[in-house]
């Protein structure tokens, strides 16, 4: 990870920070001098994220949040306004994943994935737009979609459906944000195989499997959360100021195949 001075002083809400990509992003933003509201459901892991942000010398706070609750989004955005005096960035990172044949995927499975990945992201954009507009400085929203929001993968029908939805609604929100003054940019990030708990909880944390994924990736490695944090920082900051409605794929080359 490389601290990005362009994030210095920016106020950001980052969801799903209790592990993986979200936690690394919170730490990188802290290293870069941003003011952070880092959210998640697991308070024990949240305390660890808090400690990592503190260690990085950042001005960040972990707050518990269920991103599928509209009331909680209202609360989290008001926390950004009251603690840090405004909001510039939302990183809609929280997501869930499930490997299951389409024939075995229950309505409950689908609803669980859908509510977090789609409705959680939708609400992040909705309340993010409101708070960023109220702040009046313009802003940037980064939605973490997936390579599976661009191409298919077996036994991941529900996940692909939800990530495809994130890819699409990013573009609609981007066009809406472009009509505002000041503007709000909205882009999606499409990670490939990133070695996080989201993956290992489904596939198993197994070296052979990890090496298999690496062998199958043009750059011959799996991605690490830190790699995604750098990409999120780029999209969140003014370093990508002419980019909106775009899909940034960071997948070690898998999607080019």
């Amino acid at each position: 990870m490389t601290p990005l001075p362009a994030l210095n002083g920016k106020v950001a809400i980052i969801t799903g920070t209790t592990k993986g990509i979200g936690r690394s992003t919170a730490v990188l933003f802290a290293q870069s001098g941003a003011k952070i509201i880092a959210t998640g459901r697991d308070e024990k892991e949240g305390a660890r994220t808090q400690a990592l942000m503190d260690e990085a010398g950042g001005d960040g706070v972990f707050l518990r949040q269920d991103i599928t609750s509209e009331a909680e989004w209202e609360h989290i955005t008001s926390e950004a306004m009251s603690r840090f005096g405004g909001l510039d960035i939302v990183v809609n990172n929280a997501g869930v994943f499930m490997v299951k044949s389409v024939a075995d995927t229950t309505s409950d499975d689908y609803d669980w994935i859908y509510q977090t990945n789609v409705e959680g992201t939708f609400l992040g954009m909705k309340y993010g737009f409101r708070a960023i507009k109220e702040t009046g400085r313009g802003g940037s929203i980064v939605n973490v979609s997936s390579l599976m929001g661009q191409v298919g993968y077996p036994d991941a029908t529900a996940y692909c459906a939800t990530k495809g939805a994130v890819t699409g609604m990013t573009k609609s929100a981007a066009l809406e944000g472009a009509d505002l003054d000041p503007q709000i940019r909205v882009n999606s990030l499409h990670p490939g195989v990133i070695w996080t708990e989201m993956l290992t909880s489904q596939f198993g944390d197994d070296e052979t499997l990890k090496n298999g994924f690496a062998e199958d990736t043009p750059l011959r490695s799996v991605g690490m959360p830190e790699n995604m944090a750098d990409a999120i920082a780029f999209l969140a900051s003014d370093q990508s100021s002419y980019m909106t409605g775009a899909e940034l794929t960071v997948d070690g080359g898998r999607g080019a195949d």
Binding site: T2, G223, A246
Partner: protein, 244 residues
């Protein structure tokens, strides 16, 4: 310690516009920067703005002989090559039925053959040190969408975008990354014929053209380890044009 200390970059079409903005960003991040172009006068002026870390070399990007000569001179001057930005380009429009084969071929020589040679000679140099590298090809949103009169430009830019993907798959195992950048309307000499105040409000969702510096920022991202897991990707910088 800057991000690109010890790295050497080659930027074609680096004497003005987007290329020079990329060169400035890379130089500011600590890289030694070699810019190439056809005009020695423009080259000398541009190299001066880059200070002691900058060097201009004359090059026709569609000429293999020139690529051999230029990479040899880069070796001689700086001893290695880590980053290549294949940016040189031209633009013109003409109804297809009236387009001469020569006009079509010139466009393809500069963009598509130029990109091919950039990847080939870039990779040859990067193999010498074995530390990998980053090759960035300037495609265009005209590599995804098109307009009447641009069969030559659009076909060349689409070719560049997919050439990057094939090269990414081939060179990935060596740690050589290949990505394309797809600018929309950017304020440069190449777009002076397009009046921004008339076009931007209608054609560009963010209602303005981009600056060369904004492309430079994205190229800096693609050139550094901040994008070290990114290869074969398209970086679209178009103010939202192809989102709708």
């Amino acid at each position: 310690m800057s991000e690109l200390d010890g790295k050497v970059a080659l930027i074609t079409g680096g004497t003005r516009g987007i290329g020079l903005a990329c060169a400035s960003r890379l130089a500011a991040a600590g890289a030694k920067v070699v810019i190439t172009g056809r005009s020695e006068e423009a080259g000398a002026t541009a190299a001066e703005t880059l200070g002691s870390n900058g060097l201009f070399l004359k090059q026709d990007v569609g000429s293999e002989t020139d690529w051999v000569a230029v990479t040899a001179k880069v070796q001689e001057a700086f001893g290695r090559l880590d980053i290549v930005v294949a940016n040189a380009g031209i633009s013109n429009a003409s109804p297809m039925v009236d387009m001469s084969l020569e006009q079509f071929r010139t466009m393809h020589d500069i963009h598509l053959k130029g990109a091919f040679l950039a990847v080939k000679y870039g990779a040859i140099e990067m193999r010498k040190h074995g530390d990998g590298g980053s090759i960035i090809l300037m495609s265009s949103i005209m590599g995804k969408i098109s307009a009447a009169g641009y069969v030559h430009y659009s076909s060349a830019k689409t070719g560049v975008r997919l050439l990057a993907k094939s090269a990414a798959l081939e060179l990935g195992p060596e740690g050589i990354r290949v990505n394309s950048v797809l600018p929309g309307f950017i304020r440069t000499d190449m777009t002076v014929a397009f009046p921004e105040e008339q076009i931007a409000p209608i054609a560009v969702p963010v209602k303005r053209f981009g600056n060369a510096e904004e492309i430079g920022d994205a190229v800096l991202f693609a050139a550094t380890d901040r994008s070290k897991f990114m290869t074969g990707a398209d970086l679209v910088l178009d103010g939202g044009m192809i989102a709708r």
